[in-house]
């Protein structure tokens, strides 16, 4: 079959039970689901059992017409908005927007629904009972119908959980928890970090594991991803868990172990290839509550007995404007509160799918060779201090990128990296992203604003060396100017 040819291994063409998918309703709202036969799923204002999607190709569109009925596949391409552009003579100048135009009441509509009327019929009824519909311009009629269609016969598209899809969806609900890592910034970051197959990439991610998943997707299963545990609170890999595991090469290691290995200490890290019960791996030297506890404890997911321990994204309070950001109030407390009820229940823990402990041989290997690339999305880790620690772990000429919602954190980091002569081409940038509606004679910038995005720092690691002895002292001294500057900064 044609469609089987050229399938990318690991990327299925057809939807199957157990797949993690992104369901995009009305081309607007993203829902995440692990498909399970017989499970009721809430999509917008409807609930449905999605078993009919099994066996259909990814990218298929389904209509949810009436409550309780199975969704039906849409085969005819849906391309609305082709209606004639401007109608002469008609205008909206006499329209009064006082909700009196619609003769049908909510009760009437409910009655229709109860008597088994489907979405399209309801829309026809609404149009017929609108006293102003005929007076509207065609453009406006079209818009009216579309608005009603969204409500009474929503459709959804089944997509693979690519990093971009997951990023876009999670950003709608929890931009703050993603560290404002918008899809455009994520995409730029992956490029700036030169992430590709067969590289060894060092990742610091406190943004729901989105960055780890995105890096893994770009590498397609080839090469190593080392997730450095740099302290802080337990991570909730909610974004990572929405993606399909691609990769058996995601390893977690403590930053302190990586640093120790580099300083020549023979690291006897907790890491073993097997998944040990929490706490047991650390022995006596660190209590379970210590910040130093288990190298990858932070990436263990909590498995609830009933559901998969997943907090449905839509239940989350949207995290938008926070003037005082601390780890507890900003990046964690809301889901934590939601978890509270379930926390009393017994639970087991296991590592996030696809992730494993790095063993000491690997850690020593990385420390000796260095990483090819480094990506950081850890808004509440002091960027400059963190980069100072990470830079020695990189190969010379390795590109790196760090995102932060806070321009100041990156500005300071850039200054410190340049003064310390650790990197070249260090830039701080901001990305502007806007979508357009393009229709005949109705082209304009899209209303929905993208929301604030993170800033991005990028650069290339260098090894600075002094000029050869005997060269003219003038120029050389001029170039130490920066070091004088550093002394000054320290006093600050």
């Amino acid at each position: 079959m044609d469609s089987q040819r050229g399938a990318v291994v690991g990327d299925p063409d057809y939807i199957a039970e157990g797949d993690k998918v992104v369901l995009v309703v009305n081309n607007e709202k993203h829902y995440f689901e692990t498909l399970k036969a017989g499970r009721k799923v809430k999509l917008g204002n409807k609930t449905a059992i999605l078993d009919v999607v099994f066996g259909h190709p990814y990218g298929s569109v389904f209509q949810l017409s009436s409550e309780g009925a199975d969704p039906t596949r849409v085969y005819k391409a849906m391309n609305t908005g082709q209606s004639a552009a401007v109608t002469e003579g008609r205008s909206n100048k006499d329209l009064v927007d006082d909700n009196s135009a619609q003769q049908l009441t909510a009760q009437d509509i409910q009655l229709m629904k109860d008597s088994g009327k489907e979405g399209p019929e309801i829309i026809d009824a609404l149009v017929a009972n609108s006293s102003t519909f005929q007076e509207r311009t065609e453009f406006s009629q079209d818009k009216y119908k579309k608005k009603k269609a969204k409500k009474y016969c929503p459709y959804f598209t089944v997509l693979r959980p690519t990093a971009m899809n997951v990023c876009e969806g999670v950003f709608q609900y929890a931009a703050g928890q993603l560290g404002y890592l918008r899809p455009d910034i994520l995409a730029i970051m992956l490029c700036m970090g030169n992430v590709a197959a067969h590289k060894k990439v060092l990742v610091v991610d406190t943004c729901l594991g989105l960055l780890i998943g995105a890096v893994s997707e770009k590498m397609g299963g080839f090469g190593d991803i080392c997730v450095a545990d740099c302290g802080g609170r337990r991570q909730k890999p909610d974004a990572l868990k929405k993606m399909q595991p691609r990769h058996q090469n995601i390893y977690a290691a403590k930053l302190s172990d990586l640093k120790a290995a580099q300083e020549g200490v023979d690291v006897k890290c907790a890491g073993t290839q097997s998944d040990q019960p929490p706490g047991s791996s650390q022995g006596a030297e660190a209590g379970p509550s210590s910040a130093e506890a288990g190298a990858v404890e932070r990436w263990r997911e909590e498995i609830m007995p009933d559901n998969e321990g997943e907090i449905p994204m839509e239940d989350r309070v949207e995290d938008t404007q926070c003037s005082t950001a601390t780890e507890s109030d900003r990046f964690g407390s809301q889901p934590e509160q939601l978890l509270e009820g379930s926390q009393r229940r017994p639970r087991s823990q296991q590592l996030v799918a696809g992730m494993q402990h790095a063993d000491s041989a690997q850690i020593n290997g990385w420390a000796e060779d260095g990483f090819d690339s480094c990506l950081v999305a850890a808004p509440l880790h002091h960027t400059s201090s963190l980069m100072q620690q990470l830079m020695p772990l990189l190969k010379p000429s390795a590109p790196f990128a760090a995102s932060s919602p806070y321009l100041h954190a990156l500005v300071e980091c850039r200054d410190d990296l340049l003064r310390g002569r650790m990197a070249a081409m260090v830039e701080v940038q901001e990305s502007f992203w806007r979508e357009y509606q393009v229709l005949p004679e109705r082209t304009h910038p899209q209303m929905d604003s993208k929301g604030p995005g993170a800033y991005l720092l990028s650069g290339v690691k260098i090894i600075f060396s002094d000029p050869p002895p005997g060269s003219a002292p003038n120029g050389a001294r001029a170039h130490r100017g920066g070091k004088g500057g550093r002394g000054k900064r320290q006093r600050r």
Partner: protein
């Protein structure tokens, strides 16, 4: 310090970076010298040193240094010789992201132009995938082919001279591509051909056009030819300059800013306290010159200041939006091929019985294709 990393050899392409913002691609030739406005560098000394190293000029001795960096697609975009308009980082990133370029996929591109985008696409599809890129201008096609070869990408990229707007994509590629990217004067002419080149499941198209009129025609064609989820967007990046600024904190000393001679004296005093290139007052900022405190400018001003009493100024590291927002101004269009392929009976039966073990499938990929030298992205 990590010791891994490649060592520079004769004939390698290196990116020579001279602070604050001068970047050039250099092919290392042990027998000659590299010259820039800061001096002359003996390339013999470069050989055997790691990428990322610092080199100093032979003439004038002690002049500003140069950093030798390994080539990446992003650096190539900065240093390549412009034969055409090119795509820049933000657009390139969005295309790689929304076209779902990933290892194993087959992508089509036209025109090749200066190969700015092609390098990033080639990186993304490696290993297992392929980029077929089409350019109707013979010299540009040849030039691009040479560059891909010298960057070790000849196994991943095929450049073909072809008039895509007239002939469309070749029939042999029909139904094979996961993604098609068009940067052509009239992309709408190629939409139909792109549609037939794409796989029936998971096919994506993207175009780049500077003008909205082009976009409108293209989008209309896409909707008519069986594409869906059409998105039009623009993405640009703006840099933020970082510098240390001396702010006045003593508001009484000097005084009389507006009064003839006195004011002048006060201002001279203020100016003297500034280090050239390092700090910036309220006036006289040079917008085009990123004040790159460390890499660019000399000068430690502590000694000259001699302000024993109260400090009258305070250093602060600040940022300011830069003048160069990168990204050629244009619009990106993305769309998905409408999936007409029917439900697959066997898939349904097979999968409802036993959910496929994706982890195992991935595992087998990893084992099947062990990292091999030629599969690696050379950049």
């Amino acid at each position: 310090m990590a010791t891994g990393g490649r060592v520079i050899r004769d004939g390698d392409t290196v990116v020579a970076f001279s602070p604050p913002n001068n970047t050039r691609a250099v092919t290392v030739d042990a027998a000659s010298a590299f010259n820039n406005k800061n001096g002359s560098f003996d390339m013999r000394d470069w050989i055997g040193r790691p990428f990322g190293c610092t080199v100093w000029p032979a003439k004038p001795p002690g002049g500003p240094p140069l950093y030798l960096l390994a080539l990446t697609p992003e650096l190539w975009t900065v240093v390549l010789r412009h034969r055409t308009q090119i795509l820049y980082l933000p657009d390139i990133s969005m295309v790689c992201g929304f076209l779902e370029a990933r290892p194993g996929v087959t992508l089509l591109e036209s025109g090749t132009g200066s190969g700015s985008l092609s390098h990033a696409l080639a990186r993304a599809v490696t290993p297992g995938g392929h980029l077929f890129t089409f350019e109707y201008h013979k010299e540009r096609a040849d030039w691009a082919r040479e560059e891909f070869e010298s960057h070790g990408l000849q196994e991943v990229v095929t450049v073909t001279q072809r008039d895509i707007e007239v002939e469309g994509f070749p029939d042999e590629l029909s139904g094979k591509a996961h993604g098609v990217f068009l940067d052509l004067p009239s992309p709408w002419k190629v939409v139909q051909s792109a549609h037939s080149s794409l796989r029936s499941i998971g096919g994506r198209i993207s175009t780049f056009s500077p003008c909205m009129e082009q976009v409108q025609k293209t989008v209309e064609r896409m909707r008519a030819c069986g594409f869906t989820d059409v998105r039009v967007m623009e993405c640009l990046a703006r840099d933020h300059q970082v510098k240390t600024v001396k702010f006045l904190t003593n508001f009484t000393a000097g005084g009389g800013n507006w009064e003839g001679r006195q004011g002048k004296r006060a201002r001279t005093q203020f100016e003297a306290a500034k280090a050239p290139g390092q700090t910036e007052g309220v006036e006289g900022s040079k917008p085009t010159q990123p004040a790159d405190s460390v890499e660019g400018g000399p000068g430690d001003v502590d000694a000259e200041q001699g302000l024993e009493d109260e400090p009258t100024e305070k250093d602060m590291c600040v940022s300011q939006p830069g003048w160069n927002s990168r990204g050629h101004t244009g619009y990106l269009v993305f769309a998905r091929k409408w999936v007409e392929v029917p439900e697959q009976g066997w898939a349904k039966r097979a999968t409802t019985a036993a959910p496929r073990d994706q982890a195992a499938a991935c595992d087998s990929v990893v084992r099947r294709t062990e990292p091999s030298a030629e599969a690696e992205v050379p950049l």
